[in-house]
Symmetry: D2
Subunit: 339 residues, 4 copies
């Protein structure tokens, strides 16, 4: 079927290409003429302006936005007046689900359908397919089924869950209608929250392995530091990249994130390309907010988020306060950097 | 080659079977005659006593212990006097790596080799193979290579990490010599620590999804509870089993643990077979101890461990203290169960 | 000066009494005639209706609301139309500061002043005084200074901070104008967040002491549980109430919360009056939200909040998921209650 | 009575002075002749060598060690051969309680008594007195009662806990016999663990206040960062030193640590003397170990410890791993410092 795509960045461009491979037709628009040209080369129909874009789409239209969350509302403000009743707008980016609820309500007053589609897959999605979590009206979701089916990884990309029989469900093909407006981004939000937790679990664990030789290092002995009691228990020089690799096969912690970790470590065992300032991008924060609202303890997801804050130096004032208190009650001086 | 196996439980029995399938010969012993008989049926040579077991093994022997961590020392006490110099003893269970260091030293005085092999794979290992993390002398590890190669999942069980070329390393086949005595169980220990963290990440996230309908539930309004400010944001009834299924394909959180979770939820969406009393089995605790010794922050791995403690009611006294304090300063009465 | 008080519960009634002791005059109103009568007995002027209440106050009026956060807006809806320009309304309860921002703006359109006053002190405030954190216009704050000065504990209730000289500041007497609308409740919110953290620190630590005899208890030995390696290190039967008492004098952890803890433990060493279902009342949650918004890591404050959730059984679904996963990969059965 | 003190640092020197003020007699020894001279000036009897020190003490002797935990064993090795049966050795430093258990056993074979005394009070102890947690034989504890009574703050330094009557117990005077060997340092260990938690609670909370103006700061808007949704809610410039001061009177979070915090902030509101590299000194780590061994969830105490690790940059490798993973799956580049 025909889909209009606005936003041809890393994600949007690849999605168009995957749809074209799947024999769909795509009308594309982007602020960057280069990006449009690149998609046109792959077989898409380019549109230099929003008007042109809308006019090239057959009604009822399906317009997929793949733009930064911060510009969705501005894009909608331009786009919506040009659309006609029964058109569908899909937000495939990383919007906060609360915005989806509002937007769906607004668009409904104009007879438009709004779908929120949380999309996971990253730069690998072109070939592996995208996992999609969808929120919105059932009818609109159904109309777009051919698009979702093509973008999704497909049934055969994972062994079937034991006990399941019959025709594969959409979930078994990699996309799921999660509920009404916002439900798609809600599920995607939690997905990313879990992602933060898993990433932190690997990072912490591998950091323990990296430091398994701490007993062989010069120990500081002073009133401020307790000596390691059993240095003979920490004499291992672990080949962390090899460990990440070995866990990929047969272990309980095997995962796609581990595959990526093994690759990164194989390319650069010391990770010297990175300073360790870890960004967080909204979903992790919103997951914490949802956990707090729902009264669900989420120690791990929250700690993973806070570790990212700390990696960027955001704990600095609190740390100074701790040093100040120690100085007050014990006359403890801070030790200089380098332990 | 020939291997002796002591302990034919869930793990040991399956490992023998996998070795037999791989054309190795196995001499087996277990406290339970039934367990021995079962292995004999599959082609192993049974031994009713330890003496018989040892006598049936050609020297230099290789004896694999697959017994509970708590009885390894007792088993060694019986076994070691019957062995001869250059024999190898392998502890494939869940020993604390510190015990490995001690045992390796003791056995060395008798000319014996001691290998510690952390083994991951669970009940699926028979068919999927076992991921093995190995500690001990290089020579002994090399001698057992045919055994490890057969028990391991094998190179083809995961796509090769991009950039790797040439003959697959042992790590790429699913086993790794991690270092001297204890290194295998050290890496396995951290592996399980990570496993705890990942499991908690999934559990917390899915619990948030399960509670996404909290806004539609009767809210308590009293001085002790703040009302949910935006109940309209929590009106989703998420099909948690379907979410676990959809994430298996193309998402960043895909993993073997997720496959298992999807299966468990598909069998019993409400998990009514479980009370939620989660055991912890040593490695999670030791990982925390190692992180503390090494001075590596491990918020996530530790929180995951503590959540298991809490699931078994171990926070009870602390909780009572909190209620007591609230009663003291504010005259707050506890609210009865059922919110 | 004259103050009107609406809401004569535990807090409001005591505040009126403290003001009367301080030679202020109070007009009081409450849904409960009994509560009004009780304040009248102490010297207040009672008002059966809101109209009567307003009419008995000299303009410009100062009306203090000491009602549950959930009914502040309803109370304002009734009250505000009866007020006159330049009157001051004070919300002394536990409102979310975001509501204060909105209310101050609304009341300003009517020429009214709105102050938000976070009030700490609990049931002891009558005699100890109340610590007050105040938000709103400087002029209105200044006008109420005599009220604040009387309600506050006063300069002499703590030794002066070394280095401070001259006339004691309001902060040194126990009240502080923290900033514009909402600032008072913002600071009070964080105050309570800290309170959660401190309470949890005591509770966790004392629980460790309570369990210092774990080595003398029957240990379970099975594949699911690692035995305690050094039971001889955990043979202490600590007198927890005595510990709380001894720390009150000269130790670094001395505090008012500890005083209360010592009292609770002295009354009932086993805390058998409590089930350990710990409520949380809004501020703890909002503090986490603020920390997340501000990008400030708040591991401790958040963990303290989540521990309260867990104490009420809110981790149940997540715990079941963990048990389900363990059953999947390892065939682990849950252990029955009672360890 | 007469006490011998070895170690005249910040703690030991002050304790001698407090004992002298209390009309006890002290024989003192230190590696530093200056330190000895200083105590002699206050009225102590100096001893240049250990032999001299021992000979100047009347039998049965009482020798208090106030030396770094790392040199206690070496000091004992020198000292013990010079002592006679029934002498008492007191370790007043920060030893690990497990060492106490061992030492008490060793000294017992020689007829010596060993007491472990956890001592809190810091540099203020000279005037405020020391809170002491004592482990060891009842007889030896009893013999030293006059010393403990003088070093302790005394009954009148805190209001009596309501409901207590009769002669004040030692706990009410500031010292407590906690149990057999090690019990004193065990309780002190947990005391410090709680201290870490409380300090972190204040630090995190005040850091949130410090950042209450985040809405007025330039926000980064890019795909990597979610914009603050309600910048108008974070427009407060909070006077953090004044807040610390106001909480000292009448609030639930009042404590001695808060007094110290208020002082530090009053001296240097921006804490510019500190870099925020926070040391940890053993007890915090051991408390976590005890919590893990006892199966008691200690989220707060552990998070507080890990925050100190992080403050010293110990999370660096883990953080790099997170950045590496993000780069792998999303092509995310790290953002440079300065947000």
């Amino acid at each position: 079927m025909q889909l209009g795509m606005i936003g041809l960045g890393r994600m949007g461009g690849n999605m168009v290409e995957r749809l074209l491979r799947g024999k769909h037709t795509c009308v594309v628009h982007d602020r960057s003429a280069d990006a449009v040209a690149k998609s046109v080369e792959k077989g898409a129909t380019g549109a230099g302006t929003l008007d042109e874009f809308v006019s090239k789409l057959k009604t009822p239209r399906a317009v997929w936005l793949m733009v930064p969350a911060g510009v969705v509302d501005a894009t909608l403000a331009d786009l919506v007046p040009k659309l006609a009743p029964d058109d569908i707008v899909i937000d495939g980016g990383n919007s906060y689900y609360v915005d989806d609820i509002r937007r769906a309500k607004e668009l409904k007053t104009k007879g438009l359908h709004y779908l929120d589609v949380g999309t996971s897959g990253g730069v690998f999605g072109l070939d592996r397919g995208y996992c999609m979590m969808i929120g919105g009206d059932t009818d609109a979701v159904r109309r777009l089924d051919p698009i979702f089916a093509t973008l999704a990884p497909g049934f055969e990309t994972a062994p079937r869950t034991e006990g399941k029989t019959g025709d594969p469900s959409p979930a078994e093909r990699g996309y799921l209608h999660c509920g009404p407006a916002g439900a798609g981004h809600f599920v995607k939000m939690v997905h990313n929250g879990i992602e933060y937790g898993m990433m932190a679990a690997y990072a912490e664990g591998l950091a323990v392995l990296k430091n398994a030789n701490i007993g062989s290092q010069k120990q500081t002995h002073d009133a401020e530091t307790t000596p390691l009691r059993n240095p003979e228990h920490y004499q291992y020089t672990i080949d962390v990249p090899a460990v990440a690799e070995v866990w990929r096969r047969g272990s309980v912690v095997a995962s796609w994130l581990l595959d990526l970790t093994a690759h990164a470590l194989s390319e650069n065992p010391e990770l010297s390309d990175f300073a360790g300032r870890v960004s967080d991008s909204g979903e992790g924060r919103w997951t914490v907010q949802a956990a707090v609202d729902a009264g669900v303890p989420a120690h791990v997801l929250t700690a993973a988020l806070y570790e990212r804050f700390s990696s960027r130096g955001e704990a600095g004032y609190a740390d100074k306060l701790l040093s100040a208190m120690r100085s007050e009650f014990g006359g403890h001086k801070e030790k200089p950097a380098g332990k």
